[in-house]
């Protein structure tokens, strides 16, 4: 069953529409925020009592959560329709269509989504053939072996009166290269057979890592212990592996957990929470008080339990602007595959390393809330005379502090689905118009 029809997603949408924080809703429904988080991500089923309490807290009928996700269906249909065209679908009758023929409408929406996924697969696979270094290397191996065999066997057949020593030598060479060719061919076959052929396997290692962290609320008590070390990380990774996490995802997750462990060692949980209690969620003051660099404070804040500090979002990008880490916050969408919005302060700070920014942001589009964003760029690797320093930018996101935080900057999620008109940073047309 598609995600958008599942109860958890619907609960989250409603909560965001109501401008409620996870901790508030959880409290009103009598459950813990981390349990609510699992529910919202469809990792837990809920029964009658919890459902009723959640519906009550969200001020909706329980049936609105369990059936007929009309809003999402309609936006799915609109996305499938794309830009308005003369001979295109009757956009003004979309609600009627969805209401009268929900089955057909769902099918249409699902087909569109599937088409998009397939298109992405094709792109990835085409790209892979063209740029896959393993494939290039394997082919090179095979061709080299074939070349040697061809040249050598030609000599054996065409040379009159070839000396026995040469003959023996060339026979040995052919034997050697045949073995090499066999291995090369087998490696190719294995590699190509392992190519993903179902939608489910298209999850990238990055997605797997994020799913792992999200399921744990981005907080890992195992690494908060005083004597936590790389072995604890290894243990967590082994557990993830036994649950089916792919090898590349394990590597990504291991890196993330090792960094978590270092941050936790530098800023131990209880002491840091105490500081937050006195100084508030102010990364600049926390950095000053603890002596830790701003980037570390950002990461640490994002790793604190939501029950203690509320929702804290964080995105990290590398110098190419690609998002390498995404911890979402309600009311602020972060793109998964496409590029993000160029107006984000996350990118602004890349050109001013170490100099942080603080802004209030509102993403254009439905369900967006104003959030307070902090951004800083830092060097992550040593620079040398012959290599550039590795840069990373981080953007911490907190719920809006209100007018005292300064003016609000309107920004987008990603150009294709952004309704902002007259944006100088727009790089591709949007399929959504404001007010739709």
């Amino acid at each position: 069953m598609p995600d958008r029809l599942m109860i958890g997603t619907r609960i989250r949408e409603r909560r965001v529409l109501n401008g409620m924080r996870q901790s508030d809703l959880a409290q009103r429904a009598g459950i813990s925020p981390s349990y609510l988080n699992l529910i919202e991500h469809n990792h837990r089923r809920i029964g009658g009592k919890t459902l009723l309490k959640l519906a009550e807290a969200l001020k909706v009928e329980p049936s609105q959560l369990t059936q007929g996700a009309e809003a999402t269906l309609i936006s799915g249909l609109r996305e499938a329709a794309g830009k308005p065209r003369n001979d295109g679908p009757e956009l003004d009758r979309t609600e009627e269509f969805a209401g009268r023929y929900p089955g057909w409408a769902s099918l249409l929406s699902d087909l569109h989504r599937r088409t998009q996924t397939l298109e992405r697969t094709i792109e990835t696979l085409t790209d892979r053939l063209a740029h896959d270094p393993f494939l290039a290397d394997s082919l090179h191996e095979v061709i080299s072996a074939v070349t040697a065999i061809r040249a050598t066997s030609s000599i054996l057949v065409e040379t009159e009166a070839i000396e026995p020593e040469w003959q023996a030598r060339f026979h040995r060479n052919i034997n050697e290269d045949s073995a090499r060719l066999t291995e090369g061919a087998q490696a190719l076959v294995r590699y190509l057979e392992a190519a993903p052929n179902t939608e489910a396997e298209l999850t990238s290692p990055q997605d797997e890592m994020h799913a792992y962290l999200a399921a744990r609320g981005y907080h890992l008590p195992e690494l908060e212990r005083e004597m936590a070390g790389p072995r604890d990380v290894a243990r967590l990774i082994d557990a993830a592996a036994s649950e089916g996490m792919s090898s590349p995802a394990q590597n990504l997750t291991r890196e993330a957990l090792l960094r978590y462990m270092e941050d936790a060692a530098a800023l131990p949980l209880r002491a840091f929470l105490a500081r937050v209690a006195t100084l508030g969620l102010r990364p600049d003051r926390l950095a000053e008080a603890t002596g830790a660099d701003m980037a570390r404070v950002f990461r640490r804040l994002a790793s604190l339990p939501e029950t203690d500090v509320g929702e804290v979002g964080l995105v990290i990008c590398d110098a190419s602007g690609t998002l390498t880490f995404r911890k979402p916050i309600a009311g602020f969408a972060t793109p998964r595959m496409a590029g993000a919005c160029a107006l984000w302060p996350l990118y602004q700070v890349l050109s001013q390393p170490q100099v942080p920014l603080r802004l209030r942001l509102r993403q254009a589009g439905r369900g967006a809330e104003v959030i307070e964003a902090f951004a800083v760029a830092a060097q992550t690797g040593p620079a040398g005379f012959d290599r550039p320093p590795l840069m990373q930018a981080l953007m911490l996101m907190l719920p809006d502090p209100g007018e005292t935080g300064g003016a609000v900057r309107p920004i987008g999620v990603s150009c294709r689905i952004c309704p902002l008109a007259d944006c100088a940073a727009r790089r591709e047309p949007s399929i959504v118009a404001e007010g739709m």
Binding site: R150, A151, I155, N173
Partner: protein, 122 residues
């Protein structure tokens, strides 16, 4: 006078086969198996013809070709490039870089002999 050829290639069995057929054809064959000091080998051997593989350890064949063409003494030496990629754009790239001729692997021995005989007219 015996024509001298320098074969810059890292696959030992290919070197052996090519050296065999060229020496049977009357060439003095010298070989060199890596890229980063290939130019030194050119200067040391003073060949009449160079056979150069594109994929070498240490330096790409195209870079070496550039170095050869830039050399005051050996800049005009005919160069036969060997490569696994035979698309039009690779051919054009080789021509632009200054290759005298371009041959894709796997090649036939007859083709190699014909090519080298045409490149160095006695």
């Amino acid at each position: 006078m015996t024509k001298r050829v320098l074969v810059i290639e890292d696959e030992p069995n290919i070197i052996e086969a090519v050296s065999f057929i060229l020496s049977r054809d009357g060439w003095e064959v010298k070989t060199h198996a890596n890229g980063h000091d290939a130019m030194d080998a050119v200067r040391a051997r003073a060949p009449d013809l160079i056979i150069l593989d594109v994929m070498l350890p240490g330096k790409s064949g195209f870079d070496i070709l550039q170095e050869i063409r830039a050399d005051a003494v050996y800049g005009d030496t005919p160069v036969l490039m060997l490569t696994a990629r035979g698309q039009t754009k690779d051919r054009e790239m080789a021509e632009r870089a200054g290759a005298s001729q371009y041959m894709t692997k796997p090649f036939s021995n007859a083709d190699v002999l014909a090519a080298v005989r045409a490149l160095v007219v006695p």
